[in-house]
């Protein structure tokens, strides 16, 4: 339990978050439904679901509970930092923008995506450090308890959690065009190491929770983090594997030389 939490009315995160999500949904649906393509309905569904997952984590009953409950905080963290980014990345917003914007604007966007800061941020190693490294800082320093006393910090932590989660997911599964897409092996290794660092942190927090969190809450929270992270990361692995399977499909109908005789 945190002795004193953020008082007063709803903060910037609780009001601005849902508003941004609504604007995002309106723009996405507006653009997507203008020029329908195969899979448009599925991607619209993913975008709406991802937006709702993010909103559920930052406003409403779960967010209110998260101000005093570590377990609710962890549930929200899985929604905002992992599930929402995965669903939104799968909706491929950049592809949609590049396809529907006027050519000159699309070219500017594509130029922006190729710029140095974006190149650095979408390198899987950098994105993984920002995302999982950020969690280590949040839970093993005084930041977690400080966040509950300063609105600005609270906002910043949540914005970071979401953006870093999005960058990491986008860098690993690369559904949208990437300025410098890394090999499947590179992305797989980073994904495994990031999940490992996430699981190690979860078990570490099982016995060494942030200040003010009691043992029963610490244990439940750690398990939500551990297994919640597993579920989302396995989904990311399946998407990554399916991408590899699609890209490496045999191009010729006739059997490849040397591949035949092993099957008697």
């Amino acid at each position: 339990m945190i002795p004193e939490h953020l008082g007063g009315g709803p903060g910037l995160l609780e009001t601005l978050g849902p508003l941004l999500a609504l604007i995002g949904i309106a723009i996405y649906l507006g653009l997507a439904l203008r020029g329908r393509q195969p899979g448009t309905r599925r991607r619209c569904g993913l975008w709406v679901a991802g937006s709702l997952a993010a909103v559920a984590a930052i406003s409403g009953p779960l967010a209110t509970a998260a101000e005093t409950s570590y377990v609710a905080h962890m549930g929200g963290h899985v929604l905002l930092g992992m599930l929402a980014p995965l669903l939104l990345v799968l909706a491929a917003p950049v592809t949609l923008l590049l396809r529907t914007l006027p050519v000159s604007t699309a070219r500017q966007l594509s130029h922006l995506l190729g710029s140095r800061p974006i190149r650095v941020l979408t390198e899987p190693v950098v994105a993984a450090v920002l995302s999982v490294g950020g969690l280590w800082v949040l839970y093993t320093t005084g930041l977690y308890s400080a966040m509950h006393h300063h609105r600005g910090l609270h906002l910043l932590v949540h914005v970071h959690l979401f953006i870093a989660g999005y960058l990491f997911t986008a860098a690993v599964i690369s559904v949208d065009p990437m300025p410098h897409r890394r090999s499947f092996l590179h992305r797989s290794v980073v994904l495994v190491l990031a999940l490992a660092a996430h699981d190690i942190l979860a078990k570490h927090l099982y016995v060494h929770p942030p200040d003010g969190v009691l043992a029963p809450a610490a244990e439940t929270g750690a398990m939500i983090m551990y297994y919640g992270g597993d579920v989302i990361d396995v989904a990311i692995m399946v998407v990554l594997g399916a991408g590899w399977y699609r890209v490496t499909r045999p191009r010729f109908r006739r059997p490849i030389r040397g591949a035949g005789p092993t099957l008697a």
């Binding site: 495994v192 660092a197 996430h198 699981d199 399977y245 490496t248 591949a259 035949g260």
Partner: protein, 149 residues
């Protein structure tokens, strides 16, 4: 190339299979294994995190490689199963000797004499490695197959 792929796919699927059985049967269904044990060392935590993540990745990538072998008509069942046994046995032996005993991550079961469990665990692992090695060697094609008889 294809032979190596059959082995790689099998080993990955085997590691993933054992990691999966460990988690579902021993942690979740039987509750024999503990999520965290007071004697768990830091290196044990790191190893657990790495192999937990690797286990998931192994099963997913092993099965995609398997699907790829099938669509290329280059699946060699004996070699693939040999790989599964090598991966499963190798990982189980690592888990049983290094993680349970050396790093003291957690024990197989609590409040009972753990020695028979440890022996069974590691003997099964050794058997899987032995059988996997035999299958892998015997499924080598051409020249190699005649050499080892």
């Amino acid at each position: 190339m294809t032979e190596r792929r059959n082995t790689t796919s099998g080993v990955l699927a085997g590691v993933g299979l054992v990691a999966f059985i460990d988690e579902t049967v021993f942690h979740q269904l039987l509750h024999w294994h503990h999520f965290y044990d007071k004697s768990t060392t830091d290196v044990g935590l790191v190893s657990d995190g790495l192999f937990h993540a690797l286990g998931f990745f192994a099963v997913v990538s092993g099965l995609f490689l398997f699907a790829d072998l099938r669509r290329r008509h280059s699946l060699n069942w004996a070699r693939w199963i040999g790989g599964v046994l090598l991966g499963a046995g190798g990982f189980q032996l690592y888990d049983g000797l290094i993680q349970h005993k050396l790093m003291r991550l957690h024990q197989i079961r609590y409040q009972v004499d753990v020695i028979p469990y440890d022996v069974a665990w590691n003997v099964i692992a050794a058997l899987m490695i032995g059988l996997g090695t035999v299958l892998t060697i015997r499924s080598r094609s051409g020249r190699a197959a005649t050499v080892d008889t």
